[in-house]
Structure formats: structure tokens, C-alpha cells
């Protein structure tokens, strides 16, 4: 006699996922909810951050294994070191220039389909992550939960990397390869705009 094992169908999972959308919001504490939301929104709200973080995923996807996972693991870890430096009040000059420069460099690397050694790609991404983390650390709002803000922005950063990797999956097709390089060019141009803004060349 054949045993029937309960297996959730995709329809069941879909229905449950839809139900989850109607979940009541957790009204834990205004400062804490605000902290989490601020953390989630912080990397997204600045296009310079978005460009650089998505570009990390694009470059990782273009480089393939093992950088496809090494880069998105390196970035948040080193970004946290930068964030800690910002919180502790260590001085770091040229943060905005560094952030814009990271978008230019990462975009250019994708555009040129550069393939440096593994250690060099990790070092480069780590160096850029310091600037992004520092900016997050210094902009952490005092009246909100530091833990939830940190949790929010680490998750948000990771999601941006994942978005970059997902977009970078087009690399496996010949036309996608060209499109990916073009996307790198767009990132680099965006970075140039933000560099010009931070240097005061554009109001």
C-alpha cells in the first residue's frame, strides 16, 4: 500500500504567501519600526549607493565563480567596518567622492569586462565598501533603534547585490553580455554625475 505523504502544493504556498501580505503590521515601537524602515530605505534612497551596490552584483555575475559570491559577502562585512568607523567618529575624508568613485570604477570594470585576480577584485570592492559603510554609520539617526537600522540597511544592501546578480544573469547570452557591459557604462556615467555633484561642478 502506497503511503501518501503530505506535500504542500505550489497553490497552497501561493495562497499562504498572499495571506501573509494581509498580516497586521507590528506596531512595536515607533522609533524601532522607524529605525528598520530608515535602514531599509537608506541605501535605496541614494542613487549613488544603489548604482554602486547593484554594480557589485553585476560585476560578480560577470566574473562568475567564485567572485559571484565572494564579492557580495565581502561588501557587507567591510561595509560594517566602515559603518563602525563612522559611528565611532573616526575621520574619513572624501566620503561622497569615494562613493561616486566606486560607481565609476565598478561601472567601468563591468563595461570593460575586467577580470582581475580574485584577491584584487575583493580588495577593490572592500575599499569601496568602506566609503558606503562610513556614510551609513555617520547618517544613522540618533532617535531610532541602532540595531534595527543596522539590520534594515544590511538587508537592503544584500538585496541590491542580489538584484545586480539577477540582472547580471543575462551575461550567459551573447546579446545579454553586451547589454551587461552597456549597463556598466550607464553605472559609470551615473557615477560621473554624482562625482560632479559632490565636487560642486553641478548644482
Amino acid at each position: 500500500m502506497q503511503a501518501i505523504r503530505p506535500r504542500p502544493s505550489s497553490r497552497t504556498l501561493g495562497a499562504c504567501a498572499a495571506l501573509a501580505l494581509f498580516a497586521s503590521p507590528a506596531l512595536a515601537h515607533d522609533g524601532e519600526v522607524g529605525g528598520f524602515l530608515s535602514g531599509i530605505l537608506h541605501p535605496i534612497s541614494g542613487l549613488d549607493h544603489v548604482l554602486a551596490m547593484v554594480a557589485v552584483g553585476l560585476w560578480g555575475a560577470q566574473l562568475g565563480k567564485p567572485q559571484i559570491w565572494l564579492l557580495p559577502i565581502t561588501f557587507p562585512l567591510v561595509m560594517a567596518i566602515g559603518g563602525a568607523a563612522g559611528l565611532m567618529g573616526f575621520p574619513l575624508p572624501g566620503v561622497e567622492i569615494g562613493i561616486a568613485g566606486s560607481a565609476i570604477a565598478l561601472g567601468a570594470l563591468v563595461l570593460l569586462e575586467a577580470k582581475p585576480p580574485i584577491w584584487a577584485s575583493m580588495l577593490l570592492v572592500a575599499a569601496f565598501a568602506i566609503f558606503h559603510g562610513y556614510a551609513h554609520g555617520t547618517e544613522l539617526p540618533e532617535d531610532q533603534s541602532g540595531a534595527l537600522y543596522s539590520l534594515g540597511f544590511v538587508i537592503s544592501t544584500g538585496m541590491l547585490h542580489a538584484l545586480g546578480i539577477a540582472i547580471g544573469a543575462i551575461h550567459r547570452w551573447p546579446k545579454g553580455e553586451a547589454a551587461l557591459r552597456a549597463a556598466g557604462g550607464v553605472v559609470a556615467i551615473g557615477g560621473m554625475f554624482f562625482l560632479a555633484t559632490s565636487l560642486g561642478w553641478i548644482a
Partner: protein
């Protein structure tokens, strides 16, 4: 004939490593999602769930990122190292957490819990790096971390005159979380899934480092320091 072939196929499928765990985890997923959908709004850290102290305690874990992240990171670590390690975690972590709560409610000890994220930082790094470890090490880590976190929970329960039933809620939530996440991580045995787990470990480590920096930053305002945010952890 067809029936025997089906049976053989099912047996072969279930004999695959992680098949039973995967099925169990998949079966739990709709229940967990449905529970999320039915959840009442939580209006404070611990005592406002509206359904009694047990659920206040259970909700506390999910409203305390410092506690939740270390449980998740430990479960991911155990899951990375296989089914046996994950099983040990499910036993070790809640028991150690409970023992720590008992100790914390009866013994004097340090009141500053701001150092606790060092544990989740270390565990997150281990998940991200995934080095070769003795199979007993995750259980040892879980015991030490469970004792430490439970200790501060126990202190807080005593100092705030909270019902001890809340402690049972916390331990139950720790057990359920480590069971579900450990099972899920064990079942995620494809290369990209292992990478996703390691990426999550790096997130846990990054979060912990930032929380530590937040706690020890110069002149933190007393009202927003992490020690004050999580009364069950800090002992406030």
C-alpha cells in the same frame, strides 16, 4: 507493478539525503506563513501581545534583533555542517538558554549586555567563511551563547517582575526557530543555496559589528542605546 514502481520511486526519493528534512520544512512553511497572517499587532517589546505572558515571551525573540540574529546565525551554522550538527543544536540551544535564564534569575552578574553581539559576529563569520570545524563546535558555541543570552533574559525577568511563563515563551521560540531554520538550512544543499546561507552569515556578522559599534560609540544617548532598547536582554 505500477504501484510497486511508485513505491520504489518514493522510497528512493525519501532515501536521498535531506529529503525527509526538506519535506518537513516544506510542510511547516504554509503553517508558519498562515501564522504570520493571523498575527496580532505587537505593541511593545514584551508585555503587550495581549495573549498572555507565554506569547509575550515568544514575541520578544522576534522583536529583539540581537537575540533573533544569533539564533538564526547558529541555526544556519548548524545547517551548513549537516543534519547531525543541526539536531544537536535543536537540543543544546534551548536547554542552554533555559539554564541561563534560571541562573540569571537566581545569581548576580554583569548587567551590561552590550557585548553580546560579539557572539553573533563570530557565528556570522563562521557561516560566511565556512571553515572546517569539529562537528561538536557548533553545539559548544550554542551552549555558551544560549547560556549568556538566557542569563540576561533571566535577570530581566526577575528585575521587571515578569511572569516566568514569559521565559518559557522565549525558550519555545528559540527552539522553534532553531528547529525550522536549522532544518531549512540542512535541506538547502545545492551549491547556490549554500552560497545564499553563507551570504546570510555575512549579513549577520555585518549587523552584529554595527550593533557593537552603536553600543560603544562615543557619548551614546541613554534613551537609544541598544542596552535600553531590549529590556529582556539588558536587564532593564
Amino acid at each position: 507493478m505500477n504501484a510497486s514502481a511508485d513505491t520504489a520511486r518514493i522510497t528512493a526519493r525519501d532515501a536521498r539525503p535531506g529529503a525527509a528534512t526538506r519535506t518537513a520544512a516544506a510542510s511547516c512553511a504554509p503553517v508558519a506563513l498562515a501564522l504570520c497572517a493571523c498575527a496580532s499587532p505587537a505593541s511593545a517589546h514584551l508585555v503587550q501581545s495581549g495573549v498572555g505572558p507565554f506569547y509575550d515571551g515568544a514575541a520578544h525573540l522576534f522583536l529583539s534583533p540581537e537575540d533573533l540574529v544569533v539564533v538564526l546565525a547558529l541555526a544556519l551554522l548548524a545547517g551548513l555542517y549537516g543534519r547531525d550538527v543541526a539536531r544537536r543544536l535543536v537540543l543544546t540551544l534551548p536547554v542552554a538558554w533555559l539554564a541561563g535564564m534560571v541562573l540569571g534569575s537566581r545569581m548576580p552578574g554583569p548587567s551590561d549586555a552590550a557585548w553580546l553581539p560579539i557572539a553573533s559576529l563570530a557565528v556570522g563569520l563562521l557561516v560566511a567563511i565556512h571553515p572546517k570545524l569539529a562537528s561538536i563546535l557548533p553545539a559548544v558555541l550554542a551552549a555558551a551563547i544560549g547560556l549568556a543570552h538566557g542569563f540576561y533574559n533571566g535577570r530581566a525577568i526577575t528585575e521587571t517582575s515578569t511572569s516566568p511563563t514569559a521565559g518559557a515563551g522565549i525558550v519555545s521560540a528559540v527552539a522553534v526557530c532553531s528547529l525550522l531554520i536549522g532544518a531549512l538550512a540542512t535541506a538547502m544543499d545545492r551549491p547556490w543555496q549554500r552560497i545564499a546561507i553563507r551570504a546570510l552569515g555575512s549579513w549577520a556578522a555585518a549587523f552584529s559589528l554595527l550593533v557593537l559599534a552603536w553600543a560603544y560609540r562615543p557619548t551614546p544617548p541613554a534613551s537609544t542605546a541598544p542596552a535600553a532598547e531590549s529590556p529582556m536582554t539588558s536587564g532593564e
